[in-house]
């Protein structure tokens, strides 16, 4: 049993390594064929740039601050999304008040909001604000559906056994909504990064990944552009994995569904 699990893990890792090597090789050949570092730098050039960047304090400060801004915005968006989902599914007035607005926010292009936010609020707060704004509709939509689709039979059982409001939320609503919540968080993190970095590129906070991305474009430093993009991807993965780990730890028992 243990041997077969170890073998399957090893095979999974081998597949991942093969996949990574395949795409790096393809990238390498594309760079060779084009032959211009300005358009497609080689993986080696990007790795060298990344190594050189990561030896600078400013790099870590920029990455850390971007992570902090987007994480803050994302968490605020998740909390607000859950709160609005509860309010709009519970109270009709709240539903008619907020649901159309959230749907409009969901359909509005990110760039329009970034430009408007630049006029309304402090530049350095725009990335976090954008992350919040993009996350709210995702979490709201998922959580609202989850609340509305909670098993009626279990809710009736909770009434029959006098669970009370708090007990029903704790024992029925939260556990049944948790899988949808985990999935919404995972989608939200990716979206928060995309919108947060886009906002940084447009509002240029002093220390941020987006600002360095912008400068790389202005000074035609394509290897640096690739390097910063890799940093964004890595940070997004880091945040998504941390969230996933926390939710899995909390929701391990819910896997038994």
């Amino acid at each position: 049993m243990t041997t077969s699990i170890t073998r399957s893990k090893a095979s999974g890792a081998a597949k991942k390594i093969f996949s990574a090597l395949f795409w790096i090789a393809l990238w390498y050949f594309a760079a060779l064929i084009v032959g211009q570092e300005l358009i497609i730098p080689t993986p080696l050039a990007v790795a060298k740039t990344l190594a050189s960047l990561s030896s600078q304090t400013l790099f870590w400060q920029a990455a850390g601050l971007s992570l902090l801004r987007i994480f803050t915005g994302c968490v605020a968006g998740i909390l607000l999304g859950v709160l609005l989902a509860v309010l709009t599914s519970r109270f009709e007035l709240m539903d008619s008040l907020f649901s159309p607005i959230i749907r409009i926010v969901r359909a509005t292009p990110v760039a329009s909001f970034i430009i408007l936010a630049l006029l309304w609020i402090n530049h350095s707060a725009v990335p976090a604000f954008m992350a919040t704004l993009m996350v709210v509709p995702i979490v709201w939509g998922s959580m609202r559906t989850a609340i509305e689709e909670t098993d009626r039979d279990l809710l009736e059982m909770a009434r029959a056994y006098g669970f009370g409001k708090l007990g029903t939320v704790k024992l029925v609503y939260i556990p049944s909504a948790l899988p949808a919540f985990a999935s919404a968080c995972s989608t939200s993190i990716g979206l928060a990064w995309k919108s947060g970095i886009a906002a940084e590129v447009l509002c240029l906070p002093r220390l941020s990944v987006g600002t360095y991305l912008y400068y790389s474009k202005i000074y035609l430093e394509t290897p640096a552009l690739f390097s910063w993009t890799i940093v964004v991807i890595l940070l997004s993965f880091l945040l998504e994995k941390s969230f996933g780990f926390l939710l899995r730890k909390r929701g391990r028992k819910y896997d038994k569904l």
Partner: protein, 201 residues
């Protein structure tokens, strides 16, 4: 005495109770028998206070009825022990364990409902209903999926409770096992066709 007077209740076009009257002197075990879909479960839900009548009167001296549903309705994310504990005061694990032991599920206390057989889930639902400490037991097909030996064991547990019980069953053997008191229904709309032992109106 549980009493229905000219009760009426419909779900859309379907009349489940129509000018329905019944007095039930609940002491010991009383079985409700009749075709599926006749309205017995709806009657239980009214007695449990889960749905109100649309017309007529209903009165019951019981303040805390314990309803075992026709479906198990166990919380899939909780273990057997946690499912029983959920209806007990916080921290009363000893009582939950005692009830699990009573229905023969002590060794399955850490198992989730999805890991239990149909018969085990039924017994777990029964343990939860008994653990709730209701002053009236409303048991909707409590022996569904149980073998003969387990039916005997569970029937003996039910009849030994101090709280009176109303039990939906389709089996004459089970009615016999529970003491022989029964009300026979047909419907919908629900109608009493006979009572045994016969009671003068």
């Amino acid at each position: 005495m549980i009493s229905f007077r000219n009760a009426s209740l419909s779900f859309g076009e379907k009349k489940v109770l129509d000018n329905f009257s019944l007095d039930i002197e609940a002491s010991g075990a009383t079985c409700f028998s009749g075709p599926s879909g006749s309205g017995k479960t709806t009657l239980f839900r009214v007695i449990a206070g889960l749905i109100p009548l649309q017309g007529g009167d209903f009165s019951s001296p019981y303040k805390k009825p314990a309803l075992m549903f026709q479906e198990d309705r166990l919380l899939p994310w909780l273990t057997a022990l946690q499912n029983v504990s959920a209806v007990l005061p916080e921290g009363d694990t000893a009582s939950a364990l005692r009830w699990l032991d009573e229905v023969g599920l002590k060794n399955e206390r850490g198992a989730y409902p999805s890991e239990l057989s149909g018969g085990m889930r039924r017994r777990l639902a029964l343990a939860r209903a008994l653990a709730y400490g209701g002053d009236l037991l409303l048991l909707d097909e409590p022996f569904k999926g149980l073998d003969k030996a387990l039916v005997l064991q569970m029937a003996s547990i039910i009849t030994s409770q101090s709280a009176p019980s109303l039990i939906v069953t389709h089996s004459a053997d089970e009615i016999e096992l529970l003491g022989g008191r029964a009300v026979y229904f047909e419907g919908p709309p629900l109608r009493v066709i006979s009572e045994f032992p016969h009671r003068a109106p």
